[in-house]
């Protein structure tokens, strides 16, 4: 924490002054220090220890190693905390399947699964995915054998430019994970976070319907 040195100084600088410098909420680190530590030299040492124990762990702001479990493998990348999961995948792991469309959570091109839940990877920090299982479009095929959802997309020619396709396929996967036999209305709802600029929706819906019968 940035205030580490500050709170040390204020603790040493005499209690009266420190008390009067409480933050507006009365709950600043200094206020907390005064609250838990009785004034006096001996207590001060104990307070410092308590503070060290209570101070939360931090990452960054500098680049540091972060290990993510992606498509079943642990991968360590050296990144700043501000790097989104999408950028970590694309720029640091060379997994360029997930696409950056809007970078604001609105288009679904960046969709991946995190612990089974469909998420917009552009709106999640990579560090928020630590300890979780990330599944990207690259994790669906087994070698040369496409996943049934991917095959259904090929069969129905459910793409034009293909930019939305990885996200669509991941949204379809998440939908079918939870519902093996979706109605058209449920398919539309399941894919409602994914936008296709080329307007291939009807073919995509047909592909999902076909895929539902395969998985």
């Amino acid at each position: 924490m940035a205030s580490k040195t500050k709170s040390k100084t204020s603790s040493r600088s005499g209690s009266a002054k420190a008390v009067s410098r409480k933050g507006p909420t009365g709950l600043s680190r200094r206020g907390f220090m005064q609250g838990v530590g009785v004034a006096g030299g001996v207590a001060l040492v104990a307070t410092e220890d308590a503070r060290a124990a209570a101070a939360p762990k931090t990452r960054g702001p500098k680049r540091a190693p972060v290990t993510l479990n992606v498509n079943g493998k642990d991968r360590t990348v050296t990144i700043e905390p501000r790097v989104t999961l999408l950028r970590a995948l694309r720029n640091h792991m060379d997994l360029t399947g997930a696409k950056e469309g809007c970078d604001r959570g609105g288009c679904g091109a960046c969709s991946v699964q995190v612990d089974g839940a469909l998420v917009a990877s552009c709106m999640m920090l990579a560090v928020d995915a630590v300890g979780k299982k990330v599944l990207t479009i690259e994790g669906l095929a087994k070698g040369d054998q496409l996943h049934p959802i991917q095959e259904a997309f090929v069969k129905h020619d459910a793409l034009q430019c293909g930019f939305c396709t990885p996200g669509m396929v991941m949204a379809c996967k998440a939908l079918l994970d939870g519902n093996k036999n979706p109605t058209l209305a449920q398919i539309k709802k399941g894919l409602s976070g994914n936008i296709c600029r080329c307007g291939t929706y009807t073919r995509i819906f047909a592909a999902v319907d076909t895929a539902a019968k395969q998985v």
Binding site: G23, L27, M123, D128, G193
Partner: protein
């Protein structure tokens, strides 16, 4: 997005202390915050991750004798899928945003999200809500803006869960106090620089819905430009308590028409002691917008709002919403 240190507190107390530090911001799902940070509107040195707090209570919906305790980190997807959450709240959550967003967005962050006004969201416009002295929406593109209490700043409350929570008489529980949902949101007439009353380092731990809410018949209706993705153009939540066929008490809360979930007390009073009929519902809906002050580009919200409110009243009473007789 500027860089920051990522702080991982283990307890709410530690999160509160960390979040109260200078240039520190609390993050839950991060959906709204990342948007604000990418837009350079929020520039924290320290991002305090509430998700690091392991407490299961923060992530659960617990049914107890006194009512429902919804942990602040419960996601919109959890609310939507829950069979214990009042259906009016589950419904509102289920139509908010997209599947991707609902899986991450938390209910605490949802009610504390900042407005969507494009002037507010653009760092280029130093608007009144950001401390400047102009509300650019007054004379600008105000098609999505407020109908009530909109003279100084025209933002609308963006949260889909806010109106149902107010209608259900929910309480926002923080690490410091209990706040009635109706008192949680700040009207523009009180302060145009903030939307809620939370102080520095104050953290929502749960949303409480009293057991008495179980007796309410309630419905949420909204209209949007598309069925998914966008915030509602206007929404209405109605919660009725019946004595036989007559309304004993009513809560009528409009969404996306003011900076706060907008309770229409005059309509609540007008419905009291009466049966719900298509005519009563239409009259109430008409009255609710009598004092609306639309801008140049959002007059459509008045007629849209009337229809949505009428439907919500009828739906709450379990009556057919669409009549063929031109009503």
């Amino acid at each position: 997005m500027r860089n920051f240190s990522y702080v991982m507190p283990q307890t709410i107390e530690a999160a509160s202390i960390a979040a109260a530090q200078k240039n520190s911001v609390l993050k839950a799902g991060g959906i709204d915050l990342l948007d604000l940070m990418k837009g350079d509107l929020v520039r924290p040195d320290h991002l305090v991750n509430l998700l690091s707090v392991g407490s299961p209570a923060l992530r659960e919906v617990a049914v107890k004798d006194d009512g429902l305790h919804i942990g602040a980190l419960v996601t919109l997807a959890q609310l939507a899928a829950s069979s214990t959450v009042p259906s009016v709240l589950a419904h509102a959550a289920s139509v908010a945003a997209t599947p991707q967003i609902r899986n991450v967005a938390t209910v605490g962050g949802n009610i504390a999200q900042r407005p969507r006004c494009w002037y507010f969201r653009s760092a280029t416009f130093n608007c009144a809500r950001k401390g400047g002295n102009t509300c650019f929406a007054q004379e600008g593109d105000n098609r999505y803006h407020a109908l009530f209490d909109n003279g100084d700043c025209a933002v609308v409350q963006a949260s889909s869960t806010a109106s149902p929570l107010v209608a259900l008489g929910a309480t926002v529980v923080t690490n410091r106090r209990r706040i009635a949902a109706g008192e949680f949101f700040v009207p523009t007439s009180v302060d145009i620089t903030k939307e809620h009353v939370l102080g520095e380092g104050e953290i929502i731990s749960e949303i409480f819905i009293p057991a008495s809410a179980r007796a309410l018949k309630a419905a949420y209706r909204e209209a949007g430009e598309r069925e998914s993705n966008d915030w509602a153009l206007v929404s209405a939540t109605v919660a009725l308590d019946f004595d036989g066929a007559l309304v004993k008490t009513a809560r009528v809360v409009l969404g996306a028409v003011a900076a706060v979930p907008y309770r229409v007390i005059s309509v609540e009073e007008a419905l009291r002691g009466k049966p719900i009929t298509a005519a009563n519902a239409a009259r109430a809906a008409e009255g609710a917008f009598a004092k609306a002050k639309p801008f140049a580009l959002n007059t459509y919200k008045v007629s849209l709002g009337k229809t949505i409110l009428k439907r919500a009243i009828l739906a709450a009473a379990g009556q057919p919403e669409l009549s063929t007789a031109g009503g």
